[in-house]
Amino acid sequence: MKVLNFRSLIIFSAFLRVFLIVYGEWQDAHLEVRYTDIDYLVFSDAAALVVAGKSPYKRSTYRYSPLIAFLLAPNSFIHRSWGKFIFSVSDLLVGYFIRTILKLRGVPENLSIYSVIVWLFNPFTFTIGTRGNCEPIVCAIILWIIICLMRGNLFQGAVWYGLVVHMRIYPIIYALPIVILHDPLHFQHGKKPSIIEWSSRDVKPGASLGPDKSSNLNRLWVLFSSIFTRSRILFGLISATIFFFFTGLFFYLYEWEFLNEALLYHLTRTDPRHNFSVYFYHIYLNYEREFSILEKLISFLPQLMVQVVLVSRFARDLPFCFFVQTVAFVAFNKIQATVRMGKLHFKILQFFCMEVGDYCSILCVVLLSVAIDITMEQNEA
């Protein structure tokens, strides 16, 4: 019965997305304000250039991996909405993966279903895919990596991780928790890493690891003495190989244009627009002068500190760790952190929602997400 419910949820969401894509076509043709995301037009133009045998970077503001342009190549010869279907399918996959992860963590079925509903029927998420933003693909890959790691499939996790970092760069912040997860104390080759189960979050006096001094020392010892374990080296090597393979391939094809637009641009950018960073107003007021190296360093320190602290604290609860890392990364980031980054919160927000585990809290999280949606949309406008 429950499986049937989940299946009908997915089917209903699929119909909803098809309807929205068709409606989007109508709105684009008849109303002044388009339904289609401006980025989708950029992807489509880049895909058309690729089909014509040209560089996708001939399209100004295309600053993604050429893989996205390749993926959307059928936009030119099948239908212009092809990409929206790809993104929406990824969106449904995210719903499916959420359920898989929650199952693996032992979350009760009804709560899993509620979490999937929060994802699939969140107006913010279903409009992202149907409007043509590529972020659902990134979300689906990251969730798939979590599933691979939970199932102990290190090789596949590493392959997908290398690919997703090549595609969007910022998932590089998840490298540290993944490395810590492969702690030799908790992870041995051939065994699944210990990502804690949902039920283990209930407070059990005396079972705490955190404040225990010896335990902390032990973890520090493990961290520094056995950094180079077999699984870590394997994960690093495989994901780096994949990352450099794609980066090298596209550098060979598109040369510096690719490196500048798809990689270096994101690292060197100091755009004061559309920014959720705490440094936003400071950057704007100082835009007319160059920042000194000391200033850049100082503004990077809180980010570094927060990331290290959060990772060392929550690494074993991987989905929650990714969530707090992403929120902190957006808040403390100096470079542009737009709504596109914000979208990433939502996939992991589901897990946070599940950990809280009561209906009132779920409602609060949903309302909070709607409030954030509105803020983000206004900021984007």
């Binding site: 002044e32 388009r34 401006i38 037009l41 503001t61 693996l104 963590r105 032992g106 939970m150 065994k191 699944k192 210990s194 990502i195 804690i196 189960e197 283990s200 979050r201 407070v203 059990k204 079972a207 705490s208 690891l209 955190g210 404040p211 225990d212 335990s215 755009d271 004061p272 627009r273 705490v278 440094y279 107003y281 400071h282 704007y284 007021l285 100082n286 835009y287 007319e288 100082i298 503004s299 320190l301 809180p302 980010q303 500190m305 927060v306 602290v309 959060l310 604290r313 929550f314 074993r316 609860d317 902190a328 808040a331 403390f332 406008a381």
Partner: protein, 290 residues
């Protein structure tokens, strides 16, 4: 609204009408360029009003279109800036008048109005939005030239120019059939303004340059003629349109920087403290293997 009261009449032309009595040979002077502005930016890197005017009068307004005696009078009689915030619309009502004896010939000619809007520093038009409006048939053709980077703040950006082409169809003919009347609504966006003393930076719009291009059916071949407005046409002070763009205040710079860094450090330390002192709430060592 200040802008809504701008019911003024701008006569931009007449100045160089004598040289335009018969128009000019359009295609030969602009080469293969579809847009006049495109030809300008191929020759010059940045927009300079004086250079642009010289370009128009020297390079575009030369030569004659044979056997034509049009004298269209081009004027902008109303201009308004509509909307609020950083995204507004510049509306221009244009009038193109012909002599009565020429009006009868209008039906047999294919004419096009060309509006060149030299945007002031701090304001830009989104080239992709213009493309979309063209696809929807709002404009016949439209494009932005110059510094069309959408992301740069005013201090780092150069000026840009928007050129809009509108087919002059029968539906635009004026009531007495001696010319055309049309409204153009151009969506514009404000860049982040340079720092100031008062929190606002005033951006002033100049008058647009107007042209009419007609394809005249000749005996041997069709001929393309371009008629121009005078760029030094009448401009009263009340005609000026202003956009007050919010800007940062210079003297706030240090306070904002200090507060920002204090917030960042306090925020980071709070997270650190939360992780260290409240760790027993959420993580437990007796987790099971999944």
């Amino acid at each position: 609204m200040e802008y809504q009261c701008l019911h003024f009449r701008l006569h931009l032309i007449l100045g160089i009408m004598s040289s335009l009595l018969a128009g000019i040979s359009y295609s030969s002077k602009l080469g293969s360029h579809k847009y006049i502005t495109e030809a300008y930016f191929q020759k010059y890197d940045t927009l300079n009003d004086r250079v642009f005017q010289d370009f128009i009068s020297n390079e575009v307004s030369q030569g004659f279109c044979e056997e034509q005696n049009f004298m269209p009078k081009l004027s902008v009689w109303q201009r308004q800036l509509n909307g609020d915030g950083s995204h507004r619309r510049l509306t221009s009502s244009l009038k193109i008048e012909n002599q009565p004896e020429v009006s009868s010939k209008l039906a047999s000619q294919s004419c096009k109005a060309i509006i060149v809007e030299r945007l002031p520093s701090g304001v830009f038009a989104d080239p992709f939005e213009l493309e979309h409006l063209t696809q929807r048939g709002v404009f016949t053709d439209a494009s932005a030239f110059g510094d069309t980077d959408l992301e740069l703040p005013t201090v780092r950006a150069n000026r840009s120019v928007v050129e809009i082409h509108m087919d002059l169809g029968p539906s635009m003919l004026s009531e007495n059939n001696n010319g055309w009347e049309l409204n153009i609504e151009l969506p514009l966006h404000a860049r982040y303004a340079p720092l100031g003393k008062h929190g606002y930076t005033k951006v002033e719009f100049g008058s647009p340059d107007l042209f009419v291009r007609c394809i005249v059916e000749g005996d041997s071949h069709n001929q393309s003629c371009l008629f121009s407005s005078a760029n030094d046409g009448v401009r009263s002070s009340s005609a000026a349109i202003f956009w007050e763009v919010p800007s940062g205040i210079v003297k706030h710079t240090k306070v904002v920087s200090v507060l920002t860094f204090i917030s960042a450090v306090v925020g980071a330390l709070s997270i650190l403290a939360a992780c260290v002192f409240h760790s027993e709430i959420s993580i437990h060592s007796d987790s099971k293997q999944s």
